[in-house]
Amino acid sequence: MTIRILNIAVLVAAIVLSTVLVKKFYFPAAQNSDYRIAPDARLIINGINWADSERTVLLALGKECKYCSGSAEFYRRLAAGIAGQTNIRLIALFSEKESEGEAYLEQLAVPIREVRYTSLSSLGIKSVPTLAILDRNGVVNDMWVGKLSPLKESALMSKLRLEDTRSPDEWSINEANLERKVANKELLVLLDIRERAAYALKHRDGARNIPLDELPVRAQDELPQDHAIIIDGNDPSQTDLAYSILDSQGFAHVFVLVKNAPPAKQHSP
């Protein structure tokens, strides 16, 4: 009697279990469609053993993506830096729907040897380029999406303890150099991206004010493409954003103004 009841219970349990399993097996995407890769997430990619190196840099790219090709110069520096390291592995990821990723990299002259094709969306990578640094367990330590600003590039390089070969002079300018440029009457716009009130209170001679939130709309109408644009602001994250906005709008000569450190406070004995 007890056995019969048990048998029925086993049957019921088996049906429940199998339903759960079937559901999990057949509709995994339905559960994970909103999943996005984020720091602390653990990635599993068939055929990659994260423990093979201390850190792995994953670079998810797309052949049609203009920000990918726009970032080629940085990827070249990154790949060159990593090539000299034994404990960092660099892998380029392309969507499984694409092919000839190697040829694409060759065309961009980015020397990445290891190329994999996988479903980016199932990894939670929703847009390219995405760059992620993973540890030995496949856990994401840091990640960046989109074309990186110079400040973010150098942050990434220093995180990997790589030497950035790009001179800061290519994207930043100090006050002395600015003064020299002004004195030489070089074609430049000093762009103050702070709020109107802050600008009205005090600003550099000749600075032009376009608040950061208005920059995406106004840049094309008001900033000359053939002038050097020198971004002045208080907050590095804001000047960095302004740089990215102008860069993405095709301004070729954009610089962030680096201010002299304020004089150190004198300690009276």
Partner: protein, 716 residues
């Protein structure tokens, strides 16, 4: 078996554990769902609680009360005896009431319409018809389609020969009334006016429209030409006047001035000079139509004289702009010459048109050489008048000094001082100079007006006491005026005090009301805001205009009413003359509604900030700003940024100009953006939300001096 049973037991127990866990999870989920539903229901129930008293949920008591006050004012107006005062003021009140209470507003409009339906063709009936058209013009601001239907049915009512004229007048009158607020709808009415003739005011309309939207004005002009070219008989004078859109008289200060010049025994518009910046194609079109119309030859001998004068002025133009038409004009001239009086064909007939400009010296010498005192004085007066017109006060003073009639000379001295002060304010806001001139003036109208103009500018500054002192001086100066303009000046001074939030407004208002009551109604209507100087048969008129103050009853009373509507209502009712009382009450009604604080829900709710892409994508109606005329003249251009907030219904509720090349450009942007409409906005949970963001416009003047307002490149 035992083993099997044991393993089965193990399996079973583990499965049971799984089952229990699963069921508990499912239970928990169902529970949580139930609890959220409960919360939602509870929240809904709270919202469903009927609002206290008889307030609907989104109207605050103040708004209800204000609407109620306006209803009361409506009753008061309906009880007036004078039909005219009643009809028009009811309509004005209806326009004010339209937004908060459309039903009542429609009812009041209907009343005003019924009151102004005229029968017969006597002067009274004609005045009533004119009023009827003004009521329709007011309706057009709230409901343009209704206004169109009314114009059509009003035209049907008129006698056959009057109907087209009346319709044309109604349409163009409405168009002019709407031009400031809603140019696109105004253009619709102007176009309608063209189907039944070209009204005199049509030229006013396109001249004003050109400053706001030149292509549209040009299009209307061409449409008018097209209409005329299809008419069997064209009034040559009307056609000649239309030419003022393209041409003007030489040496005029204000390009829109209509200079009429005497040619033999007729008066014709002087269109011998070209207006700058007029497209050649328009000139050509005008000349081609002119050639056609003139070619048809007027049957009437009077009209032939006008035809000849027009042909005389257009012939040289055709040589420049349309050489192929010259032969046709020549032929018309040749045909007309034997048909018009010989005086007209002599060269001397057009001597005033071809007058070379004379220098000041020449004019003064010529005046000096006049044979007698009176002619000399008249000539000097003429020079002084021209000097004041052109801002040449030095010459005006020289001429004034040489006038021998002492009384006239003294009167003129005050007028010149006033003119120079007003000029200093208008041209460069030179307060010091204006103040010095005002202090020099004797007590009287010139001094009072100039001081009020100064006070208006001072009022924008931080020093309230100084402004109040100036207004006080203006009041004192006004008291020595003896005619019907005095109470108007007292009232505008009170309005300035009201703007300053000065307690002195009450006594000033009481004084003004008493003063209005001390005059007969006839002494208060048709006031001339100008000073005249009479020498012999010559009567020179100098307008008493200042750039920033207008001495109108309604505007002034509105300012006073905004300070304290209840008190202003009591004062308005003390007015002896019905028309003034009615006007005052309408202004009080407006003030009641305007003082209603914005709804609490709008105040407390934090708007969601979106970027400009979002602001532009969610707009359902957009209106581009118009380039302000004065900004164009001063060549002010550049970027303009406005911050705006719209409510959940999609109506713009708040605007702040963040950046603009000039104040007038900022104002133009506000006027346009206020007309934008947005799609209704909701949060994800369905609660209505208001949105805030910025819009950018570029005001640019192109090479040929045309002002263009552009969207940023990203949105073009």
């Amino acid at each position: 078996m035992c083993v099997i049973q044991k393993s089965v037991e193990q399996l079973l127990s583990s499965l049971l554990v799984i089952l229990v866990t699963l069921s508990s999870i499912v239970q928990a989920q169902i529970q949580s769902q139930i609890s959220t539903i409960d919360q939602k229901q509870a929240a809904q129930k709270l919202g469903d609680v009927p609002p206290p008293a008889n307030l609907s949920s989104d109207d605050k008591p103040d708004a209800k009360l204000a609407v109620y006050q306006v209803h009361r004012i409506g009753e008061k107006l309906l009880a007036l005896r004078s039909v005219r005062a009643k009809a028009f003021e009811i309509a004005r009140l209806a326009a004010v009431l339209w937004k908060p209470d459309e039903t009542r507003a429609r009812f009041l409009f209907e009343k005003a319409l019924t009151l102004t339906i005229a029968n017969g063709n006597d002067p009274d009936a004609r005045a009533l018809s004119a009023l009827h058209r003004r009521v329709i013009a007011l309706i057009a601001r709230s409901d343009a389609e209704w206004a169109k239907r009314l114009i059509d049915s009003a035209a049907k009512r008129e006698a056959e020969d009057q109907s087209s004229k009346a319709a044309s007048a109604a349409n163009i009158g409405t168009a002019l009334g709407l031009l400031e607020e809603d140019p696109p709808v105004a253009v619709q009415f102007a176009e309608r006016s063209l189907t039944s003739g070209i009204h005199r005011a049509f030229l006013d309309f396109i001249l004003t429209l050109r400053k706001k939207d030149e292509p549209e004005a040009n299009r209307l002009f061409l449409q008018a030409l097209n209409y005329l070219s299809q008419q069997p008989a064209v009034n040559i004078t009307e056609f000649h006047l239309l030419g003022l859109y393209l041409f003007t008289a030489p040496d005029v200060i204000h390009p829109d001035a209509r200079v009429m010049t005497v040619v033999e025994d007729i008066f014709v518009p002087n269109i011998t000079a070209d207006r700058p910046g007029v497209p050649r194609a328009l000139v050509r079109a005008y000349l081609a139509t002119a050639a056609d119309i003139l070619w048809r030859m007027a049957a009437d001998s009077e009209q032939r004289k006008f035809s000849y004068a027009l042909c005389y002025m257009l012939l040289p133009k055709s040589k420049n702009a349309a050489p192929d038409l010259t032969a046709k004009f020549d032929a018309v001239m040749a045909t007309l010459t034997p048909q018009v009086p010989s005086g007209l064909t002599s060269d001397s007939a057009f001597r005033y048109i071809n007058l070379p400009p004379t220098t000041t010296e020449e004019k003064l010498t010529k005046a000096e050489n006049q044979p007698d005192h009176q002619s000399r004085d008249m000539a000097f007066l003429e020079i002084a008048l021209q000097g004041c017109d052109k801002g040449d006060f030095k010459t005006a003073r020289i001429a004034q000094g040489r006038i021998s009639d002492l009384e006239a000379s003294q009167r003129l001295a005050a007028i010149i001082d006033f003119g120079e002060g007003a000029w200093a304010i208008k041209q460069n806001a030179d307060l010091l100079k204006a103040e010095a001139l005002a202090n020099r003036l004797p007590q009287g109208i010139e001094r009072s007006i100039l001081l009020q103009s100064i006070a208006k500018i001072q009022g924008k500054g931080p020093n309230k006491n100084l402004t109040e002192e100036t207004v006080d001086k203006a009041l004192k100066a006004a008291r020595s005026i003896s005619d019907g303009r005095r109470p108007f000046l007292l009232l505008t001074a009170a309005a300035q005090l009201a703007n300053l939030k000065s307690p002195a407004v009450h006594s000033a208002l009481v004084e003004a009301i008493k003063d209005f009551n001390s005059f007969e109604e006839s002494a208060l209507s048709k006031l001339d805001w100008a000073q005249t100087v009479q020498i012999g048969p010559m009567n020179a008129r100098f307008p008493l205009e200042v750039a920033n103050v207008e001495f109108r009853f309604n505007e002034a009373f509105h300012a006073v009413a905004l300070a304290d509507p209840e008190a202003a209502m009591a004062r308005a009712e003390e007015l002896r003359h019905e028309n003034l009382r009615a006007q005052g009450l309408v202004e009080v009604g407006r003030a009641f509604l305007e003082k209603v604080p914005p709804k609490e829900s709008e105040q407390n709710e934090r708007p969601i900030q979106v970027d400009e892409d979002g602001m532009r994508k969610s707009a359902s109606k957009t209106v581009m700003p118009l380039y302000p005329e004065d900004a164009l003249r001063k060549r002010e251009q550049g970027v303009a940024v406005i911050e705006l907030q719209y409510d959940a219904k999609g109506d713009v509720v708040n605007t702040t100009v963040l950046e603009a090349p000039s104040r007038s450009i900022g104002d133009a942007m506000v006027t346009a953006v206020r007309q934008w409409k947005y799609l209704p906005s909701k949060k994800e949970d369905g609660t209505p939300v208001s949105i805030r963001g910025k819009l950018t416009f570029y005001f640019e003047i192109d090479k040929d001096g045309t002002g263009v307002v552009k969207n940023p490149k990203r949105y073009r």
